[in-house]
Symmetry: C2
Subunit: 353 residues, 2 copies
């Protein structure tokens, strides 16, 4: 029986869904998955098809632990990060914990705030990824064949093919300009999903090689100790970690990275528009959620959470009432929502009498 | 010393400013007047330049009496209408009360939710109106020379001229189609402001002639009695009155109606757009009130009351966060806000999971 674990990364702040998402209720806790469930709940469903509940670990911000725990089935472990440090420290921490449980542990990394509709294909692909990772000392990342030249995703250039849908990675790229993204799509690049499978030991080796200080800072958190002592060390050491993504810290530097071309659909739901594309629409193309009044609108997203959102005579707009605030935004401008959320958070609003 | 009184009509529900206006905080209580004052407060300022505080009577909905009283200077009398019955019963009631105080009482009728900027001209015109009404048995209404062919106003066709800016009324008209309004403007029609001056006795005579049942229903409320008895009669009789406007009940039928062409500017602020036209704008033509974030918008009205209203990439829109609801509406569609307010009030919102 293989020692399989799953790490669910639920630390995202999801400012792009402001005002629906807020620091105390980020994107992964919003009802953005089919059936009005949270993305976290949908991700946990998938996780539990890969490992039993005690093998699933959710990492989130310390302040969110209670809300996250509410959505977790019994047995799932939830740990809080005392400070946000991006993905590399979180995955390094989990690798240490899984490795302490079993020297042969392998684990999948699942971001908690992405959309995956075809769960059967997802489970089949991840299972195949586990088998590859259990046999060889490799880091397996999952790529998705692009349906559009999306400039908001990272891309992976596949190199030598090893097996069906499995290749070495030739290069990781940052988010490209649209023209560059079009070239990538034509050249067979894949979207970088941020979903991974590897043995804990293989990841720890790669982290030590690429980021020795980070690996050393995290190492004592994987030793055997009582809970109070662990908490003390976590509070002291985790915030001392370098804040860095696993792509930049490890994936782009490691020599043994493979990419698996996924057969499941996937989206990181990075904007209102990305979410809306996956929702049911009325006969004029509007997506409605919660309490809404929609009069003569086309292709709008209208959300009324905790109050009514009314939209009249609009085209291609996002209108949201949530968390004691209102957003009205052209749907092609939702990239700016993060800036608005920041302005709202730090109080850079204009006060006018 | 003339016996001059003022009736302030503060019974409006102001659904056109939803969600800023609500049943418990209608338009006349919103800070829509210059300097962020309420329209009611601004109206009371004008009233007190026409009569001393004890001569000013404010009629409003019973439920609003406490909020209205808060905005009234000491001495001003506030009475509640147990049910909304439009303007004719309210004015008939006031006429009876003023006439009981003084047989020679004359009074001005001022709607509480209109905008008048040139207060000196207003006071001069109303004073001249009082003098005309004190001398002759006439009903004096105030008209404003149109600046635009506004289809949302009633119009008055002046007849024979009697003195400078004073004519008999040839006809009152309903709100016209735009093409008809253009013809009215070219033919010298005036906007019907709903501002009047007359002697109480003259109005009571006209009401008795035109609407005898309504006049008889109201008559016992002008008799001398103690407060408790008056309250009892008011609760019983006022709701029994026909709900009808003074224009329709009296003005369109009475033979002795004069129209005074006002020299003051005036607007009934019947929509978001009408209010916005009178506000200061930023360098891109946006009107902002309260807590707002405005990014790359032109000619928008953005109001954040009790929460942030954020607008991104919009043109010619109204965006409002207030009263636990959101409105996003094209500024040329604000006529539909009343329907939205009604849908919100009766719960005709769509609930979508």
């Amino acid at each position: 029986m293989p020692d399989r674990y799953v790490l669910v990364l639920a630390g995202g702040r999801g400012e792009r869904f402001w005002p629906w998402s807020r620091p105390e209720r980020p994107k992964q806790l919003l009802p953005l998955a089919p059936g009005g469930r949270s993305l976290l709940a949908a991700t946990l469903d998938r996780a539990l098809r890969l490992a039993p509940a005690p093998g699933v670990l959710v990492l989130t911000a310390s302040a969110l632990v209670p809300s996250v725990r509410e959505q977790c089935p019994a047995g799932v472990r939830v740990l809080g990060e005392p400070a946000p440090r991006n993905t590399a420290p979180a995955i390094g921490l989990a690798a240490g914990l899984f490795h302490a449980t079993s020297q042969e542990a392998s684990f999948a990394v699942l971001p908690a705030d992405h959309a995956v509709d075809d769960e059967a294909a997802f489970v089949a692909d991840l299972t195949r990824g586990f088998k590859v990772a259990e046999k060889e000392a490799v880091l397996v990342t999952f790529g998705v064949r692009p349906s559009t030249p999306e400039p908001n995703f990272g891309y992976i250039r596949p190199g030598t093919q090893i097996a069906d849908r499995l290749s070495r990675v030739a290069a990781f790229t940052e988010k490209p300009e649209r023209a560059v993204a079009e070239r990538y799509v034509n050249q067979g690049y894949l979207w970088n999903t941020g979903i991974f499978v590897w043995r804990a030991r293989v990841f720890l080796d790669a982290l030590r090689a690429a980021r020795p200080v980070l690996a050393a800072t995290l190492a004592p958190l994987g030793e055997s100790m009582d809970d109070a002592e662990w908490e003390r060390r976590m509070t002291e050491r985790f915030p001392a970690c370098e804040s860095i993504s696993v792509d930049y810290a490890v994936m782009e530097r490691a020599p043994n990275v493979l990419v698996f071309e996924a057969s499941f659909d996937w989206d990181d739901l990075g904007s209102w528009g990305a979410w809306a594309r996956r929702q049911a629409r009325d006969d004029r193309g509007n997506v409605r959620f919660g309490r809404t009044v929609v009069l003569d609108c086309d292709r709008c997203v209208v959300v009324g959470d905790g109050g009514i959102a009314a939209a009249v005579g609009l085209r291609d707009m996002v209108v949201v009432h949530a968390g004691g605030a209102t957003l009205a935004c052209r749907i092609d401008r939702t990239e700016d929502v993060r800036a608005v959320s920041e302005a709202a958070r730090v109080g850079h609003t204009k006060e006018t009498r």
